[in-house]
């Protein structure tokens, strides 16, 4: 049995290990969990005890296969519930996270399975993030940051790196959604700002925006 707190830590470790796939530090975990390093150490010991992470004092942690499966199962539920909230209960994409954070811990194989079917086996959540399959495979996506796209190219918005309500509301305000076509009109090297064209409307964005929006080349 994995407790609610343990699930949240496993999820944090999974996400931290994604890019820099070295071992995850105690401090990084504490920061992500909004807690103190000493609390993180305590929890790491419990997870290690239960065989969910590999741990050596002072050396950081790695998820074991068992831990990875547990984390991915929680992420699967989180993203399915997000789809449910948006598709069926008319939530906006900036309103779903907090609720999904609770729903992801509901324990019922049948519930998850039936929810998946009810939603017609979605492959992406409302923020463009992939939904793992029931056996724990996380689909890999070839998404690239808008900041990396060359001048004058066309691309399509397929996801967000930052899914905070503030950023999502900014995108809403400027009519950027998943599937929106974006043209890079110009790039300013001084401050990394960019001028885009969206539905024939020009838009100047800062580097904070271009570094948090995933696109694919059209």
């Amino acid at each position: 049995m994995v407790t609610l707190s343990e699930e949240n830590y496993l999820k944090a470790i999974y996400h931290l290990a994604l890019r820099n796939d070295e071992k995850v530090s105690t401090n990084a975990i504490a920061q992500k969990m909004q807690t103190k390093a000493s609390s993180a150490t305590d929890m790491i010991k419990k997870l290690s005890e239960k065989g969910l992470v590999d741990y050596q004092k002072y050396k950081g942690v790695n998820l074991t296969e068992k831990g990875r499966l547990s984390a991915v199962s929680v992420i699967r539920k989180h993203r399915l519930w997000e789809v449910f909230l948006v598709d069926k209960l008319s939530f906006n994409w900036d309103e779903v996270h907090e609720v999904a954070e609770q729903l992801e811990h509901i324990k019922s194989e049948k519930l998850t399975q039936q929810l998946d079917a009810f939603l017609n086996y979605p492959t992406k959540d409302p923020h463009g993030d992939p939904i793992p399959d029931p056996s724990g495979n996380m689909p890999s996506t070839e998404k690239v940051l808008l900041a990396k796209i060359e001048n004058h190219k066309h691309c399509i918005c397929i996801g967000v790196k930052d899914s905070s309500a503030e950023f999502l509301q900014y995108l809403d305000k400027h009519n950027i959604a998943l599937g929106t076509e974006i043209t890079i009109v110009s790039k300013e090297s001084f401050d990394e700002s960019m001028t885009l064209k969206i539905n024939k409307t020009p838009l100047v964005i800062s580097k904070e925006v271009s570094h948090n929006l995933f696109v694919k080349i059209n």
Copy 2:
């Protein structure tokens, strides 16, 4: 803020206070919560501290209005989720309780409200129990036990008193569901057994059954 455990205790007290609307004893609470009397006492003190119950040592407890509202809100969510599971995710009525027991604690006004709308504002859960409205009014129902119905009368099944999986599966097996028409063919005074006619098929039931099935006169 009311914790998950506190919510479960409040719900237990609410249900215990229903029929015998005197004060609820510590032992009764402990038994319903599958815990020890000493644990119940501890929790009662916390609830009293928070103004959710009225409590005098050795005299039992009553929900305050604040406590009643909290309990009814949890019951509302429990029953809405049960409807969701049966109507949308094709759960059987004997499979929903355990999952609803978890879902009832999810905290989001918007979620409950949107779920209610999505389900088309149901007034009864899959077991025939009434769903309280958003402001905490529990609809009263004029249901009567099958055991009280006179010989040769017709009635319709509208609910269950015992909603355990075992009883619900017994009803499934004998084709008794909400809305099923039942005719009392005869009553045996010796053991309180009854002979029914359901869809032209005769069925002999024990007093255990007739005392756990709610009907209304046709």
